[in-house]
């Protein structure tokens, strides 16, 4: 949807009606955008960890008896780490259409908004 109009919304001399909007800062575009909100991740490898701990409880925490479960846990951990790295690289390279906020801010500082005329 297009930007809502500002006509007759602010308290100005030419405006007969009472103001609709009362902004506390001047309505001028800033030369930066806000940071991306980090999405809430959830814990990975919970099932492998619980399987391994059940095995430990049965075998008095001996590692030789639980080799397979421990190996599965390590594999899950390395896979989760690799996935996290890929995701962070993807975020830094391209943000599904637009640039990441840091690169956008750099671009905006190179071509800043001109609130003045001259």
């Amino acid at each position: 949807m297009a930007t809502p109009s500002l006509r007759g919304r602010l308290a100005r001399l030419g405006n007969p009606r009472r103001p609709i909007l009362k902004p506390n800062k001047p309505l001028i575009l800033a030369n930066h955008v806000g940071e991306r909100r980090r999405e809430k991740g959830e814990a990975t490898c919970i099932t492998e960890m619980s399987v391994m701990m059940a095995c430990w409880k049965q075998n008095e925490f001996r590692d030789e008896a639980c080799r397979k479960e421990i190996q599965d846990f390590f594999d899950c951990a390395s896979r989760a780490e690799a996935a996290r790295k890929m995701r962070s690289i993807q975020e830094n390279l391209g943000e599904l259409g637009s640039l990441p906020p840091k690169k956008l801010n750099k671009l905006l500082h190179r071509f800043p908004n001109k609130p003045h005329v001259s």
Binding site: K40, G41, E42, A43, T44, C45, I46, M49, S50, M52, M53, W56, K57, F61, R62, D63, E64, I70, F73, F74, C76, A77, A80, E81, R84
Partner: protein, 242 residues
């Protein structure tokens, strides 16, 4: 030659080539550990097998890397990194962790004395044992060292996470290097603190290494304590967000 070409490209008169000028990153923080090499410097390759490969055995990437190395800038290898057959990265790391105040000579001598003590003890056992037992006794101190440290590595670690104003110890999977570091750290701390003042470090370390090799001893107990705490706190695993 690479060096004059790079200097001409850079065009700086004062500083030497590739060396970074000291730069303040943040007003409150000073860097205490920094390298004088720029990002274009690559790490040296000290592996002799890499250079002995004939042209037919090399893959495309290796051929490309060899060509690249002819013009790239390479850092100087540190004094402890050699292409000798006797060099062991685990032993080097352990020696560095044992070192105090930069006294590498002392740390290295302690390390060699430890390995010698381990070997002597195992040989005594070997000569005193019967024929069937002799096959089971391991005499190579390096294999004993590696196996002992591997037995001491924890599988899962605990991390304090702040939730609702309290710190909870949450079980978390550890990276390989963190596990190796913890094993070595526990071994060194145990040997430094829990020994009599007249007992020397090689003696105590060799004893602890042999116990860890057989999955006994205080370092293994500490690893099991960590596992038990993690098992007790397994309900808190959902406090992780990674």
């Amino acid at each position: 030659m690479a060096a004059p070409a790079v200097k001409a490209a850079r065009g700086w008169s004062g500083s030497a080539l590739g060396v970074r000028i000291a730069v303040f990153r943040f007003p409150g923080l000073t860097q205490v550990r920094w390298s004088r090499y720029g990002p274009e410097y690559k790490d040296p390759q000290t592996d002799k097998e890499y250079y002995r490969k004939s042209l037919a055995e090399q893959t495309e990437e290796e051929k490309y890397e060899r060509e690249l190395k002819k013009t790239q800038l390479i850092k100087a290898a540190p004094a402890t990194k050699t292409s000798s057959v006797f060099e062991d990265p685990v032993i080097s790391k352990f020696t560095n962790m044992m070192m105090k105040g930069g006294n590498k000579v002392l740390a290295r001598s302690l390390m060699t004395q430890t390995l010698e003590a381990v070997k002597r003890k195992q040989f005594e056992k070997y000569h005193a044992a019967s024929a069937e037992e002799q096959a089971t006794i391991e005499r190579n101190p390096y294999t004993i060292f590696h196996q002992a440290l591997k037995n001491c590595e924890p599988v899962i670690g605990l991390v304090p996470i702040l939730k609702g104003g309290h710190f909870y110890q949450v079980p978390v999977p550890l990276a390989d290097r963190r596990r190796r570091f913890l094993a070595m750290k526990w071994m060194i701390t145990e040997c430094r603190e829990k020994k009599h003042r007249r007992v020397l470090m090689p003696e105590k370390l060799s004893q602890e290494l042999l116990e860890a090799f057989h999955n006994q001893g205080p370092v293994i107990k500490r690893k099991h304590d960590m596992h038990k705490m993690a098992e007790a706190n397994r309900a808190l695993a959902h406090y992780r967000w990674w």
